[in-house]
């Protein structure tokens, strides 16, 4: 009997801690109050039936909570790793040739007879190019790159320029991309 009381006590304390954490989370705006939007009978049902029932179930089966939490943590970690893999990066082997800024800006000058583009390197993308140069770490070299890459199943080719220092690619500026899926190849 003592063991059962101790077990239920731990569950009750654990429930209290969870509730306090949940309230702090709602107060800080990180999560939404589960009762938000409920009115009338639904709110009454939530407060008088759902909440007490959930509390009783929690106190009875509290060891499941850390297991679920661990599973959630693992899922989040896997999701973050997957997101990281899906971010486009330029590898050393994607680099083509070292280029000078003058050489690149001359090659990427865009002209339009209807005047529908700024008379600047990279045209409408000039601000992005300037930002890339401004953010390139001091002493880095600029290399052209090309990489075949897939994002959620569809393949594409990307071209652009990368800031490289000490053999490491530190930043990149993607200028063009072309879908390589079956439809685009036809």
């Amino acid at each position: 009997m003592d063991w059962l009381a101790a077990y239920l006590c731990v569950g009750a304390v654990y429930l209290l801690m969870q509730e306090l954490q949940s309230r702090r989370s709602v107060a800080s705006g990180r999560t939404t109050d589960p009762a938000a939007g409920l009115t009338g009978g639904a709110l009454l049902l939530y407060r008088l039936v759902a909440l007490p029932l959930a509390a009783v179930l929690f106190v009875l089966g509290w060891p499941a909570a850390p297991a679920v939490m661990l599973w959630e943590l693992g899922r989040e970690r896997r999701w973050r790793a997957r997101e990281k893999r899906m971010q486009f990066t330029v590898r050393r082997r994607d680099l083509i040739a070292r280029r000078t800024v003058d050489d690149i800006e001359a090659a990427e000058h865009v002209v339009d007879p209807m005047g529908a583009v700024p008379d600047l390197p990279f045209g409408h993308l000039n601000a992005a190019w300037r930002q890339f140069l401004d953010n390139a770490p001091a002493g880095s070299e600029i290399w052209s790159f090309s990489r075949k890459w897939t994002d959620r199943g569809s393949w594409e080719q990307r071209w652009g320029y990368a800031a490289v220092r000490g053999g490491r690619v530190l930043a990149h500026f993607s200028v063009r991309r072309r879908g390589l899926d079956r439809q685009a190849r036809q």
Binding site: D112, M114, A116, P118, H124, L125, S174, V175
Partner: protein
């Protein structure tokens, strides 16, 4: 995912629905993207662009969208100083223009199949070639002609005014 509303392209004097999104490549290349508000499940990209090919060059000539603050977005919102025409020099790829009757409706993305597709290959905003692919014949002679999503949900309060559609 709901079938998506197409962009519009004026090509050789005719208006076509275009199942390609050249403006997305601009944003992907680092072009400034305003905070567009989503206003229809048939328009997850949150904007409708009108395009034109003149003398073998691809231009964006109009944009219809709404920003999260509720104001209307136009071409000048994305390309300040260029309210009427923007040369799409950033775009490399294929433009797909569905033609003829609907052969198979797919309620997802640009998945619907029409009797043929006109493909226009673009290299840095310039047309390099075009060709037509025949997909088959519509079994139903009353099948709708031209591309369009069959159903969508409109978030009415955020919808840009001026035209019907998603």
């Amino acid at each position: 995912m709901t079938a998506q509303a197409a962009e519009q392209l004026r090509y050789q004097g005719q208006d076509h629905a275009m199942c390609s999104q050249p403006l997305d490549d601009y944003f992907s290349a680092g072009g400034a993207c305003p905070d567009f508000a989503s206003w229809s499940t048939a328009l997850w990209r949150c904007y409708l662009g009108n395009w034109e090919i003149i003398d073998g060059r691809l231009y964006l000539i109009a944009l219809r969208a709404r920003l999260v603050d509720g104001s209307a977005a136009t071409l000048a919102t994305v390309f300040p100083g260029y309210p009427d025409r923007v040369f799409a020099h950033w775009y490399c790829g294929s433009l797909r223009l569905p033609q003829g009757r609907l052969v198979k409706y797919v309620h997802s993305g640009f998945g619907s199949v029409h009797e043929s597709d006109l493909f226009i290959a673009i290299e840095r905003g310039l047309v390099t070639r075009s060709h037509t692919r025949i997909n088959g014949r519509a079994a139903d002679r009353d099948a709708p002609v031209g591309y369009g999503p069959g159903a969508w949900t409109v978030l009415a309060s955020r919808r840009p005014s001026g035209k019907e559609g998603p």
